[in-house]
Amino acid sequence: MADIEPPDNRPLVEPEIHVGPEYAVAESDVAELVTGEVFAGSSLWRDAWRRLLRNKLAVFGMLVVLVLAIASVIGPAIIARATGLTYDSIPKDAALLKSFAPFRAADGKFSWAHPMGTDNAGRDILARVLSGGQISLMVALIATLVSLVIGISYGAIAGYLGGRVDDLMMRIVDVLYSLPYVILIIVLLALLPAKTPTAQLAELFFALGAVSWLTMARIVRGQIISLKNQDFVLAARATGVPTLRIIFRHLVPNALGPVIVYATLTIPSVMLSEAFLSFLGLGVRPPRVSWGSLAAEGAQNLAIYPWQLIFPGLTMALMLFSLNFVGDGLRDALDPQTRKE
């Protein structure tokens, strides 16, 4: 018995073996498994970042997204401070209650007052486009987050538990996949419109997030299945880590690459869905504006005041264009196998 129990002052022979749930993931081992090779000072993420920066279109996309996002977040406040105009401020002077072309003042001369013109009620379109950007971005981000939470939990649990539970859970996903869910969302939003614009926004987050988690669940499940038989999971289980903790602390962080890629591609698609619903009059409602509702307004006055459609429409298109480039670039960077040569 004496030689099994080490004396207190004896140094640990193998200091890298830790017991206890906190240390069950040996991060360096996992990195090695994922990348296949470990360079000094080069992690999976740093490699991916370098590859991303080499992709000119993705860098261009990131810059545009950044500029548009910052402009949307701080732009309205700056405009309000500089000119006193907000997205909803209607001029007092009756002569100004009409749509001016970009850079035109009431007398038809050049003016810096409204670089994108005004709408039928004389409201500044630049302020409206930037405020609309705030709402569009917020809806896209929160709905994507909702879909991430549902998709990751669902996919990870199905993948880890396996067997009959997995069969059932994925069969449900298959069934939901073939539902014409946009049609159901239209029914939901048209028949149960929320009382206040804020509640309407919450309904949008919920509706859009609730239908866009299916692919995420499939991706996460696939990742978890390929990871769950590895040694670090066995180690965690052997040391008595509860199942849910294994799933969310040990497995999910190792499946993040594909999840991030798919989440970046979800953002533009959710943004598009929001705009589509707002265009039909089912999404963001006045006095709030989003790019979709602005485009809907503009489309009605297209023949006489084309700038009412062109500016919000093209801003949204530019944002979607850039987000798609970023998403594609991230996919190529994080998943070199599927990279187009």
């Binding site: 014409p180 149960l192 598009l272 039909l280 979709g292 485009a295």
Partner: protein
């Protein structure tokens, strides 16, 4: 194979039941009713209306009646378009939407496959980059922005096509709506074709075809396209669902008398029979189409067995 098809057909029935029930519950959960308007109705009139449409019966009786009628393909009468049955409305609006959707998808197949194949054959050339940028634009410009812009250019400036008019199927009036609707499919199909072709062109059986001394045209047309188009075929299933939502918007933009336009109006009007009828119809179409796509795999890719 036959067993697979049978099993899938049997699954369709409970799904349809689920969709119709969910829609019915949503319609019934909504506060108010189709007859509630600006004016308050006299209680006697309201009672008569409730009596006439069976709204005074317990919910399960009404629900059973809805399901039973639907099982007999009797979708009832529209509440808002008086004197018209839902079946009549479907018969009138479906050809419009179908013409629009089919034309748009054909345009998308022709342009998309051509662009994608050329991009794959001349990989990394300016042709490749140009068609992929165009494809990215097609994905990024929403159809409700593209449609009005096309109207602005071709109807209001050049006077080539009517801005909002429906003259039946083979007419000038379908050009702009179909182009608007097809843009995003051109983009998707071009990207899918390019990816599929790039993979196939590097495979062994293409090398065999080359080694046999086939001409490049034969290799591409007879051998590569068959494998390279598999992703496009599998995209056709979800594409139908997209097409339906696309027609909703495009019919709205161009004011076409199609299914989608009527569907939105029905939702706003709480026209319960019309909502249920259109949802059921769309659901059947989507479910059957997904089944057809799965079956068609077996014919295109000989490796797939059910």
């Amino acid at each position: 194979m036959l067993r697979f098809i049978l099993r899938r057909i049997i699954v369709i029935i409970p799904m349809l039941f689920f969709i119709v029930s969910l829609t019915w519950v949503l319609v019934r959960l909504a506060p108010g009713n189709f007859y509630t308007g600006e004016k308050k109705l006299a209680p006697a009139i309201e009672n008569n209306l409730r009596e006439k449409y069976g709204l005074n019966k317990p919910w399960h009786v009404q629900y059973r009646k809805v399901l039973w009628n639907m099982a007999r393909f009797d979708l009832g009468n529209s509440l808002k378009y008086e004197g018209q049955s839902v079946n009549q409305i479907l018969r009138r609006t479906l050809p419009v939407s179908a013409a629009l959707g089919v034309t748009a998808y054909l345009i998308a197949l022709i342009f998309g496959i051509t662009m994608g194949t050329l991009a794959a054959l001349k990989q990394n050339s300016w042709l490749d980059y140009a068609s992929m940028t165009v494809a990215m634009l097609g994905i990024s410009v929403p159809n409700f922005v593209l449609g009005p812009l096309l109207v602005l250019a071709f109807s209001l400036t050049l006077y080539w096509f009517p801005p909002a008019l429906w003259n039946g199927f083979p007419s000038k009036s379908i050009v702009l709506p179909a182009l608007t609707l097809s843009a995003i499919y051109i983009a998707y199909i071009a990207r899918l074709t390019r990816a599929g072709m790039l993979e196939v062109l590097r495979s062994d059986y293409i090398r065999t075809a080359r080694a046999k001394g086939l001409t490049e045209r034969q290799i591409v047309m007879r051998h590569a396209l068959r494998g390279g188009l598999l992703p496009v075929v599998s995209f056709s299933g979800p594409a139908l669902a997209f097409l339906i939502t696309g027609t909703v918007v495009v019919e709205r933009v161009f004011a076409l008398p199609g299914l989608g336009n009527y569907f939105i109006n029905a939702c706003f009007n709480r026209d319960e029979p019309l909502i249920l009828g259109i949802v059921a119809f769309i659901a059947i179409t989507v479910l059957v189409f997904n089944l057809l796509v799965d079956i068609s795999y077996a014919f295109i890719d000989p490796r797939i067995r059910y």
